[in-house]
Symmetry: D4
Subunit: 252 residues, 8 copies
């Protein structure tokens, strides 16, 4: 209920056209109804700069097809995460520009008008962390960020990281993906002054507890300026990195 | 060991002034020695734009006094977190411009030349979350960010939050502090398109497990673009928010 | 042992027909024996208004067939939860009115004489939560409650929920099903004044720990009036919602 | 602003005593701004039938005094939970009708016009569970429910419970409070057909883990129709029991 | 009412000294009502061979005094566990034969007619485990078992244990109390063929998690024939050991 | 090293036949060597009254065949637990008297000379707990105990249990097997005065955490005299029950 | 580039066969760039005395082939852990001297010039712990340590261990591998004065929580001088044992 | 009885000054009985090269005094850990050479004949980790190791560590003490080729869970050759480091 509608209601109360009881009923919900936008899809795009994204896990193929068809009719770019090759095939039938990134398990339709801007750097500690890193990379790119990568530079051979010091300091925001002991974000966070997004992966064995160890390491990082994502949440990391990267470019 | 020194070494090997064995010993550590900067304090300020911060918990008064004296001789601004009133008194004796923020438990000496810029918004779900929020606010301000606050707007009365929609969309980065069920960052994250820094607090009882419940809620947030801090880590949140806020202003 | 039998025993002790030792043995168990009802099945229906329900997981097909045949001989309605299509086929052979609800994994035989009464509302945060919600819905309906549903209204787009404010306030009891961060019950609980039954689902990844994160969120909900069920326990939620819904209708 | 005051305002608009503009100003800020007190949720009384309740833990005496004074100016009844005797003394100075329930740690001002209706039964397993049970009892009573209690009837001597079978079946809703192994709700839930609200307490030692064991027991209860509250959350249990009890009485 | 008093009552019924009606009145209330004391389980002495025991933690002094006075009027022996010196003083005022075992934190009144029979052996790994062991010893003794002890024989010096092999094989049942790594029950269980009752203690530091490590060690013991108690639950261990020890002596 | 050998050593030191250094080396290990029994297999049977049992999980078929062949050459009875049908077939080829108990997953060769004695009662809460209960039953029987069973008497219909009160009080020791909330041992423990062995099962879903909930319930049982086994450890329970049952029969 | 090749390079610089500039180019990229293979840590062989080891889990066959080919071109010995038979076949095609140790899941190419020195003893509690023990054994041997083994000597029959006292005291370092209750390292640690490396295995069931119980036991060991590895981490144990064993032999 | 006294006894047997019978009597009771002090492990000095150490936590002052007096009569050196100043004062009264190390909470009497040998390096990440590091240092020194320290070199400023590369490579064994994220051992382990002993500390807040986060980080370390101790277990680390350091020096 916006200002005009509220004014109308009170005028109609005054004139006797609406009873006090009926007015009370409408006013009871007042804090909520003034947001009454019609459609989910369009509004998300306006509100957050990017349309709804399909998280495919736990959805049936039919559900995904339905949502994808509806989104693709109205929006560019398009993103579906945790997609199997089968799901990708379904979506490609709806829109043949759709591309399947197998390692990242993402189906994407890019918006050709979006130029890749800024500078996001995605780092991994090991080779096995790459799928999560790729999910972050594709996500940020499809949203409009320019992304570079630096994979397999864990602290077991820390000179590999230190040797790339220039790449680290050039980035506007760095996504660090690591499993097992999850120490890489702490080391990176101590070397740079830009925001760091840390993503634990479920890679490891024994007392890694499917990423819990790496998650706790990152939450307790002694380095300041590190924000942590859920385990294996490359999509969220890409999304946050893009929002950070966008500051000073698209919204300044 | 930089390029010049390496060249010198090889020339001396060639000329027989350095034995192969001695050269091998030096080369063994090659990836590390070229970073040999003299002093911890000065370099942090150059590397990360802010000098070392004292985390007072678990340090003796004598240790804190020593570190503070050394830092205050060389740097502005100055920040000591988790400081008791006693610690604050000690530091004020070293530098009388030091101010103690009791709720935030911070002792700070601001740098008068830093103008507060950008726009960080700090939100809390409840009144008891305010100390952690204040730690974030003071930290970000001392580092040079302009900060606004919006306290006690938890979802039990969600219209309190929705009514401030404009304040939410005006911010460049939002810090959301919440204990108990920790749901506020999810709701805020669904309303805005700027980066959100979520801070769980240890406030709550029973199965809140001293903030673990809120932490898990935030890590699993369905809203994209939310980075999570450790429980009660207002300092880290302020620090990350400041780094994000600085993009497009100081480093563009 | 009721009053009459106790009196008889003592008279027989007095008359010497029962020895002191034998009487002592009988009296030792006195608090328990007066409940000696014959049959499990019939009594549950009398005691709790609904016959025993078969929880199929962990039972062999032969066991389920046996229990189902015995129950179906004496009772309507009939409910078997967590049933596979195979189990459903077995039961349909016993009673061809049995209906298999695939999404809810329930086999049900309704009692045509039960009118659906009252008003239970079942809400989900996401599409993947629907199977658990359907288990709750079918359960409550078969027991005799009228149920409405409102699916996929999570807080990532909170206006979807707020726009249905009328549906929320019309219900007598609301079941809220949510995985991942599990924040929806907190938001719903802050909007209505009827009882809320919260059901965490195992949907999510990483640090959702198969529903633990959502469970903790719900237990710590700042909103008053929320009772929590076990993870994925749609049956329990439907059952509790039906009992609440029945107050003021069938038992007043 | 309660229903009466809102009705008065509308009547005065209708009669012309208040202009539409002035009414609009009051209504725009209706939920929280009209008292100049930042985030108190005065709208809650209209929305949920009971004004905001003060949870005293983690708030300073000054904060509690301020909130209490504001609430007591506008609302009856009034409830402050987890209150120390000192807090109680502060509140009594604001309103001398305030009563301190020491065992329940509640300060309450009852609304003399509310008749106690329906029938809530509060049960405990042991003597040490009584404080949490009393918190539930006072809460439900102040909100308007008639409450009976049955304390110290744990299953170590199950005949104590079975001997009160009539009391169990007479209740409209039963709150069961238990620590240690937390088995009482399962047993009660198997005996009755009304809704059961289970509250684990932190009572116990060793592997009770401050109530976690009892909480898990209750969540896994084999008895259907049991909703679980957070550990020691007597307030929430009283609140939910009152809402359930109210169905068929106040809202039918 | 113990076995003797019940037998007396029945004999007097048989002899006509007590009427059937009067006996019925006494028996009707036998389990708990005859003392007008709400929930004390006086029937327990008949049912389980030992009257109710007071667990003092979490009870007020007044509650303990009331329960103790009621129990001491009717029963011997008497046991109150986790009792502070203050509680002991209160109970001694009620019955001056009460003895306070400070290390075990038990107040006991022994039944002089009970001879100590059988052979329970209580072992500890370290000196700090002794209080829990003493709680077990006093409990078993007051209940009527003969108990020997063997303290501080942990596996860090395993010859201390092996040197007492004869004492181990002589016992009918062995209680093994251990904190930290909790390995002693596994070693003892591999040496003997009698039942072993394992009690983890909260002694330890770091990742002992207040006894959780020792508890898990004992639950996973490779040695067969080991039953585990809750952390620090010396009372339960003494109780179970006494019941086992009694087989073949009092009940054969 | 026994007394004779020690004496010999010292005599040889005195006579100079053994040097001081050599003697010191031998004496260094003195506390351990006097136990130097030759053979694993035979000694276990002497020491603990039952030969080694094969736990098949995690062993290769070849390993199991080898151990079984060696044991069956020397011992009766024989027991192999957690055995698949394939393993059973292997063992039957070695000894055709071997019987496979499929539900219990045990391969057993009984000793025809062992009479079943005493009285162990095995109870389950539900149908799904039966496999674990059967593992306990077969184990105790093969070891020589007479076992009765009472299955599916959980507290959801507590009269089923109470109606069998006589069976409960007749047993010398009771094994109670329960999953989900695991409350049955608490109820049984409150009814009887014999030792109770509680076995949690991994049956359940959601927050049962594969038996953890039931395990905690049992460890925290308010009923005294309950010893707890590891999750699903029917073998251990049968073993402990047999040892308890044997007291007063075979060893008195 | 190993020590020998580095030495050769320097000798050739000295003799003028390689120019300073050419040597500088090779040395600048020494740690990782000289092979054009992104992040392989060829410097590790110089820094830590052993080249990089391939942890195969979570890597694709193509990735493993690529890394193996690169390593095998430059280094001896070679080690790939957690290798499936398929992976082993791939590597054998690259270098036919590669041997697959199936139980240990290791592919190794030994360096024929390395003599096995010192004395590492590897012990297991049970038969199922052998795979992890073999991973430790092969690792230590390939690195150059002489290894003996002592398998299946758990404390259920502790004389098996005590009877081998001489073997224990002869070792320079002992690796103890144990699952279930994990008590063996505590017992071994109390018998010897050399360093003990404890490795928990995931063997066990129920509350062993995939090795967590054994891990906690070992961390809390009362025996001094025990260092703990991650669950199932035989490779790490072999590596640490080799480094310890090497002291006083290769580096003295 | 230490090695010297045993040697003396045997020499006197050889020379006929002590009879075989008298020697046998002394040797029979050698491990613990000869001092009439129940369970002190005087044999440990022979078996493990160092007498029993008193862990003071959880022991009464009287117990500590008694054990200390007995140990100090027979052994040098002497070590009591986790000692309060009061305990230290008690021990100084028994032996005035005792020194109290306040930060390490250790009371020690050194053996002047032990020369400090080898080279142990103790490193901490932060200032607050120093007490645990000091416990390790004093322990290793009193046992006979030469120890150097390098405190406050955490990865937030990694150049502090890299700049000390020479110190790292010079050590025979390195103890790394770290709280919070616990990443330092991973970094150190990647730089050196000697054994690393990692000690997590309880320093930290929020989701550090009193050292659990650091413990998990260390257990999952990607660097090979790292053995982990219990949280805050400086004593154990010092002990293990000394044993490792001793290889190749005292036992070669």
């Amino acid at each position: 209920m916006n200002r005009e509608r509220l004014e109308q209601l009170l005028i109609r109360v005054r004139s006797g056209k609406v009873s006090v009881t009926a007015a009370m009923e409408q006013l009871r919900a007042l804090p909520f109804e003034d947001l009454g936008f019609a459609s989910l899809d369009h509004h998300r795009s306006i509100r957050q700069g990017f349309p709804e994204v399909i998280f495919c896990e736990g959805k049936t193929p039919a559900q995904i097809r339905g949502i994808a068809a509806s989104l693709l009719k109205h929006h560019r770019p398009f993103l579906a995460t945790r997609a199997s090759p089968q799901v990708a095939a379904h979506i490609k039938r709806i829109d043949r520009r759709a591309v399947y990134h197998e390692l990242a398990r993402i189906v994407a339709v890019r918006d050709p008008k979006r130029r890749l801007e800024g500078h996001v750097l995605v780092i991994t500690a090991g080779t096995s962390d790459v799928p999560v890193a790729e999910e972050a990379r594709i996500t940020a790119e499809v949203m409009g960020s320019r992304v570079e990568t630096l994979y397999d530079v864990g602290v077991a051979g820390i000179h590999r990281l230190l040797g790339r010091h220039r790449q680290l300091t050039d980035a506007r925001v760095i996504v660090v993906v690591a499993g097992m002991d999850g120490v890489l974000p702490s080391v990176v966070g101590g070397l740079v002054d830009c925001p760091v997004v840390a993503v634990p992966t479920s890679r490891g064995y024994g007392a890694s507890f499917n990423g819990l160890a790496a998650l706790l390491t990152m939450l307790n990082s002694c380095a300041a300026g590190v924000g942590v994502m859920n385990i294996d949440n490359g999509f969220g990391a890409g999304c946050l990195a893009h929002r950070i990267n966008g500051l000073g470019i698209t919204r300044q």
